[in-house]
């Protein structure tokens, strides 16, 4: 047991003390604070550089003669600073100016004999969709008003015509949460799912890399002459696991502080969305449980695979199938985010390699009966134990194996060598 703790301590401290670890952690924490305060930062920048809202000057060719003023009046009621200017040139010249980039866009307006407004917006930019949308909306209400005048309807009569119906959705499925709850859960579940996904993929490949490095630098031979390969493997997995937990706790605390401090400054908007009082404790607990399960499952697999290669360069290739599994799990849960009750999501949540992400999605989004998450946790735990036992056998031989090993076929060879 003594050796176990020495390896455990070494796996943890050598990584935690490394400059790269400190730098990534600091950058991540800085990024979290930056994101949490992004609206405040934008406001500050705008205060410094002026209003920040630039005037949009739009050339208009108006053949009807009345639309331009009504459109300008319509814009004036909104927030937009769009200034319409009657064009001096003809449509052809304006068209040319747009193609050469001299002006961004122009608008032509006309009314036909039936009183229908025709508008033509000409632009070079593919990204220009906000302004045309606004113009269309404004013209639509102008046309409605014009038609109402034609039919001699009063304002109130017009309003009653457009009164929306009262529609409410109610889901009687026992596992469903209310729409409001779901909306809140979705953001939190998505964030935590992403954290689990990133953490599992990052720390497990860190293990594979570490094991391969110990092999390629040949320090492995010294290590396993004083501690059994099995102990070495589990000490490593636990040591780096602790590192992961510490790092995530740092990020979690940073995120909490960042949101708390920014929330007091900016009421409304995103910070309300994330406000901590809405966070369900059970979701957080499940996130922790599924992170740990996912980590140990994939870390054991990664250690096994890492023990098969002799050079650090081959690690990525070797752990490719494993990375694919995590990616598939993430895709399933990402698609299930909008509809967590889909059949394939339910089935996938019981497949141990998908459980950490998919079952977490389901417990986060649905009111599941207790046995479902417990069953999936039990299945995953069992898989971890089997994989640990199997991994230890491969590892025992794998660490002694040198040469061009790049395929999963070497697992058989490693087990053989481990027995001998």
């Amino acid at each position: 047991m003594r050796e176990f703790w020495i390896i455990f301590k070494q796996a943890f401290t050598s990584k935690a003390k490394a400059k790269s670890f400190t730098i990534t952690t600091v950058i991540m924490v800085a990024a979290i604070f930056l994101l949490a305060n992004i609206s405040k930062i934008i406001d500050t920048v705008q205060d410094v550089t002026g209003t920040g809202k630039s005037e949009n000057l739009l050339q208009v060719v108006d053949t009807s003669g009345i639309l331009i003023d009504r459109l300008q009046a319509e814009f004036a009621t909104g927030d937009e600073d769009i200034v319409l200017e009657p064009a001096d040139e003809t449509e052809t010249i304006l068209h040319e100016k747009v193609s050469t980039g001299e002006i961004d866009s122009f608008l032509t307006l006309s009314i036909d004999e039936q009183g229908i407004i025709h508008a033509n917006y000409t632009t070079m930019s593919m990204m220009d969709f906000f302004l045309p949308m606004r113009i269309q909306d404004a013209l639509q209400s102008i046309q409605t008003e014009m038609k109402a005048e034609e039919l001699s309807l009063t304002g109130t009569q017009l309003q009653t015509l457009f009164t929306p119906i009262q529609f409410e959705q109610k889901n009687v499925s026992p596992s469903a949460k209310s729409e409001e709850e779901l909306g809140q859960a979705r953001v939190l579940v998505y964030i935590l799912m992403f954290v689990i996904y990133l953490a599992v993929i990052m720390y497990s490949s860190m293990i594979a890399m570490d094991v391969a490095n110990e092999k390629s630098s040949r320090v492995m031979e010294i290590l396993i002459s004083s501690v059994s390969p099995v102990k070495h493997m589990f000490a490593k997995v636990l040591g780096i696991g602790l590192l992961g937990i510490v790092q995530i706790i740092i990020y979690g605390v940073a995120g909490y502080i960042a949101l708390k401090t920014s929330a007091t400054e900016v009421p409304g908007g995103m910070s309300d969305f994330f406000s901590m009082k809405d966070v369900s404790i059970s979701t957080l607990v499940y996130a922790a449980v599924f992170f740990l399960l996912g980590y140990f499952l994939y870390a054991t697999l990664a250690a096994l695979l890492g023990s098969l290669v002799s050079r650090a360069e081959d690690v990525q290739q070797m752990i490719m199938p494993m990375s694919m599994l995590i990616v598939i799990a993430f895709i399933i849960s990402a698609t299930g985010l909008s509809n967590p009750e889909l059949g394939y999501v339910t089935y996938a949540s019981f497949f141990p390699f998908f459980t950490p992400l998919v079952m977490f999605l389901r417990v986060g989004m649905l009111d599941l009966p207790m046995w479902e998450p417990l069953l999936s946790i039990a299945i995953t735990l069992l898989t971890i134990i089997i994989l640990g036992w199997f991994g230890a056998r491969v590892y025992r031989g794998g660490v002694l194996m040198y040469g061009p090993s790049r395929s999963l076929k070497d697992i058989k060879k490693a087990i053989q060598l481990g027995k001998e």
Binding site: S217, R218, V219, E221, I222, S225, S226, V227, L400
Partner: protein
């Protein structure tokens, strides 16, 4: 206090890496383990350390099987040197020392002593990858010696060291032997084995082709060299019975002879030709024996 290997055989599939190996290393002695590349030396060491299990035979250390419980008594210098390139020298040595059962304070004391003895104290806080190859080698040796092991297994301990450092390391190993450690080492350098080892084995393709004390090995090899310097013509001696080969030079000639008494005949014949300036019976060097034994199989 001895290391014993009895009829040890190791097979990988159909390939026999080590075949019926026997050797005994007594307490306070050094055993030389010679063999060409791929002869089965590293496999044998791995079996002694318990990293591999023998298919047949027994390996015991003080009549006990070697296991992880005995690892604090063992010092191992692997042929392929291995240290963490990114770790600092002292942190690394503390870690490896702790793995061999030392506590932190003991480890630090031992590290200071050995770094000083090997004249590399200035590298204590450097990363291993920053050191020269020879200095890395010294750190590796310290990792094998620092916990004062009773059984030392050294795979090619002198490779990569300059002559000054070879002497430094030899002295350290001799100190260990004088303090009663049991030492088994492999080398390609016959002169080192000749200088240090009381007992030796030459293995070839997993088979032990020569074993015993250095003197017995040399005696049983039979062939000796006789060097005679004379101003007179020695060609008449070429046909004396028992002379295997001869090489003449301006100063005289060197005769390879079958057995020791042929030397007397040579001396008598040489004196008949005229007065001689030099007469010497040379023992065969280990190098000659190794090449004759191992090289023969290649031929």
């Amino acid at each position: 206090m001895s290391l014993q290997l009895e009829n040890v055989t190791k097979r990988f599939g159909t390939f026999t890496a080590v075949n019926q190996l026997n050797l005994t290393v007594e307490k306070g002695s050094m055993y030389g383990f010679l063999g060409a590349n791929g002869a089965g030396k590293t496999t044998t060491f791995r079996m002694i350390l318990g990293l591999l299990n023998a298919n047949e035979g027994h390996i015991t250390w003080n009549d006990k099987t070697i296991s992880y419980a005995t690892s604090p008594e063992i010092g191992y210098l692997p042929e392929e040197r291995g240290l963490y390139p990114k770790m600092k020298v002292d942190e690394q040595l503390v870690f490896l020392g702790e793995l061999r059962g030392m506590n932190k304070a003991e480890a630090k004391k031992a590290i200071d002593y050995w770094l000083d003895r090997f004249e590399v104290s200035q590298n204590k806080n450097k990363k291993v990858e920053e050191l020269s190859k020879g200095n890395q080698q010294k750190i590796q040796v310290i990792a094998a010696l620092m916990h004062d092991p009773k059984l030392l297994i050294l795979d090619e301990p002198f490779s990569g060291l300059d002559p000054v450092n070879v002497e430094m390391l030899k002295k350290a190993i001799i100190d260990f032997r004088n303090n009663g450690a049991t030492i088994l080492f492999s080398s390609h350098r016959m002169d080192h084995v000749e200088e240090l080892c009381e007992q030796l084995s030459i293995i070839h393709h997993g088979k032990q082709i020569v074993s015993g004390s250095l003197r017995d090995v040399k005696r049983s090899f039979g062939r000796q060299n006789v060097r005679i310097r004379s101003d007179h013509d020695l060609h008449a001696l070429d046909n004396i019975h028992g002379v295997l080969s001869v090489s003449h030079s301006v100063e005289g000639a060197i005769f390879q002879i079958e057995e020791e008494k042929v030397a007397n005949d040579l001396l008598a014949a040489a004196l008949q030709a005229g007065p001689i300036r030099h007469f010497e019976i040379e023992e065969p060097s280990l190098q000659d024996i190794f090449i004759a034994k191992v090289g023969k199989e290649y031929a």
